[in-house]
């Protein structure tokens, strides 16, 4: 499918054309329109890819026409398509929001990094190549480092970016090492080919001797190394420290993007590795349940740690960052159950979490412009009714006790999935972390009801049409998702198909390699 291949390339191309264009055009309005057009175009393409994948099943695109396992191949299954649509949707919303929020001399560089961030994210989701995943991961990471340090006059932003990029570089290098280990052991970098060779001894070739000759040992090594990267990207407990540092220092539209674009990749990578590549029936199947259990416990810890720490935050952006850690922990707990229902619950959780965190950042952004990042400043939202409504809806969705919103249903799905496999303690962790974080959410809602303080003089506050449009679109998406989930069994079926396909690795392998053996 050509659109899938074009999407990341188009975003990258348009992004890196910007610095060149800036030599000729100086008007910031041009850059804003350019970036918004590019991101909306990307959204249309991501939608096209998702519809196409739902119609025809797993699709692929061969770069340069090389037959797999030679050459780089893009393989898009429903998981990648759905998450790609989500991440590009939030990217487009953030780009539109940025045209209101970000005022800087370096605006063209900001949009360059923003579009590259989207390209890296969607490239990670679409690629079917272990090494190409690394390249896209680096595109994503470098743009994220740049965007965190965008307010370079702020020492805290510089410090946060240094910390983030140093540890991030180590994390992605671990992924690179795991890609080398996979290559050394299986002699291929194509995900479908590795998935096939990890399962069928007939397909395996003795590629190299020594440590790599032992397929089981090197698969376990590759999993261990790459899981470090994925838990880092997804901000799961021992590797969560960067998110509350880096996320709040980034410009607000970027903070809104972090969940949908960066943390999402961590969860996606873990699902791809643990289900498609080294899933059931693979050489390390007997280790896989232990790995899943470790990740499950880490997810539980980060759900609790995130919930406990968010209660005491006095900075809105830090508050939302800790909430992200808690919710990503829940998503990890869900898909490490190893069942179809668990995977579906994790995906619904990711979608619900990405949308509501973005909604929180977009509406809090107005309060941040009006009075700063302290939670007390939220009271200024009383002047902006739509923003305050959106903020409350976002919080309630994350809290997940109102059955109107998708956040409630994602937690219900996780709960059912846990009880189904008999993980009662995990279900308890879910309830307890929801309860603890609920304290924080209610506290934030109480700040909204306080009498509004004074508002800064800021030209941006005079015209709020742009943020209002963004907020209403995301709000509508969130409410609509909840309504569709409740009233349309077909919509639920659409989501369940994603889980079925994740567990059925055969389709993924066949779609890519099927043509080769005909």
């Amino acid at each position: 499918m050509l659109t899938a291949a074009l999407l990341p390339l188009l975003l990258i191309g348009l992004a890196f054309a910007l610095p060149a264009i800036s030599l000729v055009v100086r008007n910031p309005r041009f850059f804003r329109i350019y970036a918004v057009t590019a991101s909306l175009l990307a959204l249309a393409m991501a939608l096209d890819v998702a519809v196409g994948v739902y119609r025809t099943g797993v699709t692929y695109y061969l770069f340069g026409g090389f037959r797999p396992p030679l050459g780089i191949v893009y393989t898009i299954d429903k998981l990648g398509a759905v998450l790609g649509l989500l991440s590009i949707f939030i990217l487009a919303m953030s780009t539109i929001y940025s045209t209101w929020m970000v005022r800087s001399r370096w605006e063209y560089l900001y949009y360059t990094a923003l579009l590259a961030l989207g390209a890296g994210s969607v490239g990670c989701l679409y690629t079917g190549d272990v090494f190409n995943f690394f390249v896209m991961l680096e595109v994503l990471s470098i743009s994220a480092y740049v965007l965190v340090a965008f307010y370079r006059d702020n020492p805290r932003a510089v410090e946060a970016s240094i910390r983030y990029s140093m540890v991030g570089m180590v994390a992605t290098s671990f992924y690179l090492l795991s890609a080398f280990v996979i290559y050394g052991s299986f002699g291929t970098l194509n995900m479908a080919d590795v998935a096939l060779k990890a399962r069928s001894p007939l397909a395996q070739i003795q590629y190299s001797g020594g440590v790599f000759g032992n397929v089981i040992l090197s698969s376990a090594l590759a999993i261990a190394l790459s899981m470090w990267t994925f838990t880092f990207k997804a901000a799961i407990f021992p590797n969560h420290f960067w998110l509350p540092d880096a996320n709040p220092e980034a410009p607000t539209p970027i903070s809104a993007l972090f969940v949908a674009v960066i943390d999402l990749i961590g969860a996606y990578g873990a699902i791809r590795y643990l289900y498609t590549i080294f899933g059931t029936g693979s050489v390390i199947e007997y280790l896989r349940s232990d790995i899943m259990l470790v990740l499950h416990v880490l997810g539980a810890l980060s759900a609790l740690v995130g919930a406990l720490l968010l209660v005491v935050q006095t900075d809105v952006k830090k508050f939302i960052a800790y909430s992200t850690i808690s919710h990503m922990g829940l998503a990890f707990m869900a898909f490490t159950l190893g069942t179809e229902r668990g995977v579906v619950a994790a995906i619904v959780q990711l979608v619900s979490n990405s949308l509501s965190e973005a909604l929180l950042f977009y509406s809090a952004g107005i309060a941040i412009v009006a009075s700063g990042r302290a939670v007390e400043g939220l009271s200024t939202l009383r002047r902006y009714r739509l923003a305050s409504v959106a903020f409350v809806v976002g919080l309630l969705n994350l809290f997940g006790v109102v059955p109107l919103f998708i956040g409630f249903w994602s937690k219900v799905l996780i709960f059912i999935a846990m009880v189904e496999v008999g993980y009662i303690a995990s279900a308890l962790v879910l309830v307890v972390s929801t309860g603890i974080s609920g304290l924080g959410y209610v506290r934030l809602i109480r700040y909204l009801t306080r009498p509004s303080g004074s508002v800064r003089e800021d030209g941006r506050l005079r015209d709020l049409r742009v943020p209002y449009v963004v907020i209403s679109v995301v709000l509508l998406a969130l409410v609509l998702l909840g309504a569709l989930f409740i009233y349309l069994p077909e919509f639920r079926a659409l989501l369940e198909v994603v889980g079925t396909e994740v567990l059925d690795y055969g389709k993924y392998v066949e779609a890519v390699l099927g043509g080769t053996f005909k």
């Binding site: 090494f131 690394f134 390249v135 680096e138 990471s141 470098i142 480092y145 740049v146 340090a149 370079r152 020492p155 805290r156 510089v158 410090e159 970016s161 240094i162 990029s165 140093m166 540890v167 570089m169 180590v170 290098s173 690179l176 090492l177 890609a179 080398f180 290559y183 050394g184 190299s208 790599f212």
Partner: protein
């Protein structure tokens, strides 16, 4: 000759692993950002050298060949010899990509460390938290 060679190869691989360990120590423990940065470059260079070692083919009696077929192979036997006796070029291509990507991050990090120095007047990480922990 062959024993000596394989011993040296193992020594190189092991030293790369030790190198990775030392570099990780440097990244996480050293207080100076510049030293952290140097440790980071050592870390990724070790990983890259590791990948190069991965593509190496040990050929008894001679040096491994180049992965280029300059003549049309005369038969299956020659092709088989070619595939076992020449160095795998793919890890080198991968490493090339990784080095280029690494360069971008290093350039960016150097810039950031310079900015940090301008803000705080030092490159020690504890400067930002007020006071040093000597």
């Amino acid at each position: 000759m062959s024993d000596y060679f394989s011993l040296m190869f193992t020594v190189v691989l092991l030293s790369l692993v030790v190198n990775i360990g030392i570099a990780l120590y440097g990244i996480f423990i050293k207080p100076s950002l510049v030293k952290k940065f140097i440790a980071l470059t050592i870390f990724s260079d070790s990983i890259n050298s590791f990948a190069i070692a991965l593509g190496f083919r040990r050929v008894t009696g001679s040096y491994p060949g180049v992965a280029v077929l300059s003549d049309v192979p005369r038969g299956v036997e020659e092709l088989r010899h070619f595939s076992t006796a020449s160095v795998d070029p793919l890890p080198q291509a991968l490493v090339l990509t990784a080095i280029v990507i690494g360069l971008a991050v290093y350039m960016f990090l150097t810039g950031l460390i310079m900015l940090y120095y301008r803000h705080y007047g030092t490159t020690r990480v504890d400067a930002a938290r007020g006071g040093s922990r000597e």
